[in-house]
Amino acid sequence: MRLAAQAAGALDGVMAADEGRTASEDTKELFTELARTRDPALRDRLATAHLGLAYQLARRYTNRGEPYEDLVQVASLAIVKSVDRFDPERGVEFTTFATRTVIGELKRHFRDKGWAVRAPRRVQELYLELGKMAESLSQELGRSPTVPELASATDATEEAVLEALEAGQGYRTASIDATDRNDETLASHIGDEDLTMGTVEDRQLLAPAMARLAPREQTILQLRFGQGLTQSEIAARVGISQMHVSRLLAASLERLRKSVGTAEEG
């Protein structure tokens, strides 16, 4: 969070350059200067000044199975990209342009990695197929394919495509849970118990512990509990025996238990 504070401070510094002007005018002027000079220091200054937006958006889309830090990284890179690509003459506010870019990059990130929902295997498989097909059709058609086109290309029904897209995005109550108004969440104030909340809390607790495991152990746990593969299926995919998978799972879970127990006590 210190970086966010630094970013906010930098933004104040940039925007307070002239009290009689609006922040928007100052920003536009700085971008015009950047377009003219391509000054790396100014580029850095503008990117840093808008890092707060990256943090805000990353927080908005947490709880979808991806670590907050990763989302911040994706969003921050998107801010830099936005600074490089922004054209102040187009009449769009930088923050609008940057928000669009950051959301686009976050969507792409979730498309590649996000599996917050333990979706049925057939849905996961269709989602993965859709991702590849959408990319190929986009290149072929020069536009984003429609649902009927994707359904036809993957030999699935339109309903199945919509279901897979919904599940694949890691959607659940994510951004509503993540709202930071008064540091409270909508879900926390809704009377009935949300049965998926425990999963999210567990995931948040597990994420740092998972990160400490060896890459292969992480993969095996993800395949077993994220994708619901059997030990035999994992063995075939990773190229080791089912017994070895069983031993690795047991050892990894034991390490996770200890790690989480330590974190909770701390």
Binding site: R60, T96, T146, L165, I176, R181, T185, L186, A187, I190
Partner: protein, 135 residues
């Protein structure tokens, strides 16, 4: 109501309790209407995020009531309207303030959006046009 998007308006109404895990119904409805209207998957993803954001922009953390959605597809555009119908005795003093981030996200995802009071209810709406290159 018509089911032919080129000939007229396709309208779908949906009412859900203010429960976070039911917002999926609004997202799916929006996605389904958009798919029927020939929107590309990128636009559908944007619409899903925008519908979620629309809810966030309307409902406070401690609100209790129902969200009434109206999804309309007119040629080349989808409009989603959402009104919050609070439970009797609801104190609306804290509601009606939308945070900047919600507005910024909606700016980025849709072509137009706004808020209004209708029959004493707080409503928000958005409109997303179909990308010109889409069939």
């Amino acid at each position: 109501m018509s089911t032919d998007g080129q000939a007229g308006v396709v309208a779908v109404d949906l009412a859900i309790p203010v429960k976070a895990d039911l917002v999926v119904l609004a997202r799916l409805t929006a996605a389904t209407v958009a798919a029927r209207a020939g929107f590309g998957v990128e636009d559908i993803e944007d619409l899903r995020l925008a519908v979620e954001e629309l809810c966030l922009s309307l409902v406070r953390t401690d609100d209790d009531g129902r969200l009434n959605f109206a999804f309309e597809y007119v040629p080349d555009a989808i409009t989603v309207k959402c009104c919050f119908e609070p439970q009797p005795g609801w104190d609306g003093a804290a509601s009606g303030v939308v945070d900047d981030l919600s507005l910024r996200i909606l700016d980025a995802l849709v072509d137009e959006h706004g808020r209004e009071q209708r029959d004493g209810k707080l409503c928000a709406w958005l409109r997303k046009r179909r990308a010109p290159s889409t069939v």
